[in-house]
């Protein structure tokens, strides 16, 4: 019990950031109906971006967050406009392989630019703890959790309340119908991809104070992100949030009960189990 509570809380806090990563993925799936295998690699790129801003320009990740989110939006928008949308011709397998190709390029580009070393940054709050009853909560993770949920809420409000958000939802439902009322689906596709990747810019800033970054980190996150999205239901907004929290907790409980070596197996096993038993996830509708 003494170990269980910290593991649960720690998992929940990390899960908040997973939720933000997964929101980007589920948005891209929901609107473009593509499986963005480059998601982990783009997160890795964003984390290197946050690391550069912190290590070379002394910018605290939390301060750099809006800037990096904007940069990643531009990266995502351009990537869709000039590479993925161009190459794929709307064929599912081609899109999947194109996003894999992008992931391969990015992972190795990072290896060329930054070498294979793992890097971390130091922030004044990295080691601070907050006492909550019997629990000690790392401040960096608490901030990350709060910001992630705040941003998830903001994204939800944007999609629900603004005209652009409505246009995105319209294209997600019915691209041809949306085109008939004057929305240009190709623009919305690039926009939605950009927003999905902007989430990674924000998530990178929230992760970096308590995580490390290396060119391999994308591979670590890609399976986590897909597990979250599949568990919650592909394309489901609340699913991504609940799924993120559940995966965070699962990961920590796995580490607690199965040990450091075997513990990480929980995420791939959860992924396989969900796909085999309930492919629509918790909140997904039957396609």
């Amino acid at each position: 019990m003494a170990l269980l509570m910290p593991a649960l809380v720690g998992g929940l806090l990390t899960g908040g950031v997973y939720a933000l990563v997964a929101l980007g993925l589920t948005l891209i799936y929901g609107v473009l109906h593509i499986v963005n295998f480059a998601h982990g690699s783009l997160l890795m790129m964003a984390m290197f971006g946050a690391w550069l801003l912190a290590a070379k320009f002394g910018l605290d990740p939390l301060v750099a967050l809006p800037l990096l989110a904007a940069i990643m939006f531009a990266v995502g928008w351009a990537l869709y406009r000039f590479v993925i949308g161009r190459v794929a011709h709307g064929d599912d397998r081609a899109i999947l392989l194109a996003t894999l190709g992008v992931a391969v390029v990015l992972d190795n580009l990072a290896l060329v630019l930054f070498t294979g070393d793992t890097r971390t940054i130091e922030t004044p709050y990295a080691l601070q703890m907050i006492q909550a009853g019997p629990l000690l909560i790392p401040l960096a993770k608490l901030i990350a959790f709060a910001c992630a949920l705040l941003l998830a809420g903001a994204l939800w409000a944007f999609l629900a309340l603004t005209d652009t958000g409505r246009a995105i939802r319209a294209v997600a439902r019915e691209p041809e119908g949306a085109a008939l009322v004057g929305i240009r689906p190709d623009r919305i596709f690039a926009l939605a991809y950009g927003i999905g990747i902007a989430c990674l810019g924000a998530a990178a800033c929230l992760l970096l104070p308590s995580f490390y970054v290396s060119p391999q980190v994308g591979g670590v996150f890609v399976l986590v992100a897909f597990t979250v999205v599949v568990l919650g239901g592909m394309g489901s907004f609340p699913g991504a949030v609940v799924g993120g929290l559940l995966v965070g907790i699962t990961e920590n409980l796995g580490g607690l009960y199965l040990g450091e070596d075997l513990g990480p197996i929980c995420v791939p096993l959860l992924f396989i189990a969900v796909l085999l038993v309930r492919p629509t996830g918790l909140f997904g509708s039957v396609r």
């Binding site: 397998r93 999947l96 190709g101 391969v104 190795n108 399976l223 791939p268 396989i272």
Partner: protein, 310 residues
């Protein structure tokens, strides 16, 4: 045209035997293993349209089966070959039944294979029989009975044999009845089912065949390097390389993976001789993959052969 291509490939395959350079033989062996693994991937991913991101699972299982049987139980590595093939084939069959019965296709199948490979890697890293993170070291004792060769050309011959076997299997698919079922399922599963093709069985069988061949590649790896550990046995990079070789050469064609392996190794070796920075060559593979998907979906094979079913 096609006959000319095969004669050229066969001549090219025999050339390294004329050289006494171990370096050349080693290069040839690595290319042949890549081609064989790419061909194994091609059987499921090309002919069957079962895009796998985690084919290294079979490679690793084969490698560990061979290494464990000889180091722990003292079996000859020659027994490792059928054992690995059985294990790879069996796991491929079961993985196929489980995932195809659940109706997983396309991207979902790709992701689930990736998850299987990752689960195997973590398992190999944490249980005792695989030696955990420190891996398994096979004792150096070169002899034909030990399936270890001092001369790399013998290793190359073994790799060529596997390549020939995989290519023979692919050729059977291209012209045979089972292959016709498989390709019918790839093109339109519902239509194939309506015509009486048992899609789940056909796809599972293709995955089993592909898994068995891939596992044999794992045995060849262990017998040439005499060492295996979890990150090597189950690396995502190797899964991606198998896919690249098949896609670049031309997925779903018999000659594709051979051409793809030649292209990939040509890129790798030229790049390595020009720039020493690690990562440059794999980055180029990614670029080539994007170009192939975008501009030449049939792969290099489209240049050299006429499409079989245009």
């Amino acid at each position: 045209m096609t006959r000319g291509l095969w004669i050229a490939l066969a001549t090219l395959a025999l050339l390294p035997f004329a050289s006494h350079s171990q370096f050349v033989a080693n290069l040839a062996m690595l290319t042949a293993i890549s081609a064989a693994l790419g061909q194994a991937w091609n059987i499921a991913g090309g002919f069957g349209g079962l895009t796998s991101f985690g084919h290294v699972a079979f490679f690793g299982l084969g490698a560990y089966a061979d290494a464990i049987l000889q180091t722990r139980y003292g079996f000859t590595p020659w027994l490792g070959l059928p054992a690995a093939a059985l294990l790879g084939g069996g796991v491929g069959w079961l993985m196929g039944l489980a995932t195809f019965r659940a109706g997983l296709r396309g991207s979902y199948f790709a992701l689930v294979t990736l998850a299987f490979a990752e689960a195997f890697r973590i398992l190999a890293n944490s249980i005792g029989i695989t030696g955990g993170g420190s891996g398994i070291l096979v004792k150096l004792h070169t002899s034909a009975g030990n399936f270890q060769f001092a001369d790399r050309r013998a290793g190359y011959a073994a790799a060529l044999a596997l390549l020939a076997l995989a290519t023979f299997a692919a050729r059977r698919l291209a012209v045979g009845r089972f292959g016709a079922y498989l390709m019918a399922v790839r093109e339109n599963e519902d239509a194939a089912r309506a015509l009486g093709v048992r899609a789940v069985r056909v796809k599972s069988a293709a995955l089993a065949l592909s898994g068995a061949l891939t596992a044999l590649g794992g045995v060849l790896y262990v017998q040439s390097y005499l060492y295996i550990d979890p990150p090597t046995a189950f690396s995502v990079e190797r899964s991606v390389e198998m896919l690249l070789v098949a896609m670049i050469g031309g997925a779903g064609t018999v000659a594709g993976p051979l051409l793809g392996a030649l292209a990939v190794h040509a890129i790798a070796d030229t790049t390595r001789s020009l720039v020493a920075t690690p990562g440059v060559a794999p980055m180029l593979y990614g670029v080539v993959l994007l170009l192939i998907i975008g501009f030449l979906p049939g792969g290099i094979a489209r240049f050299v052969t006429r499409p079989a079913h245009a």
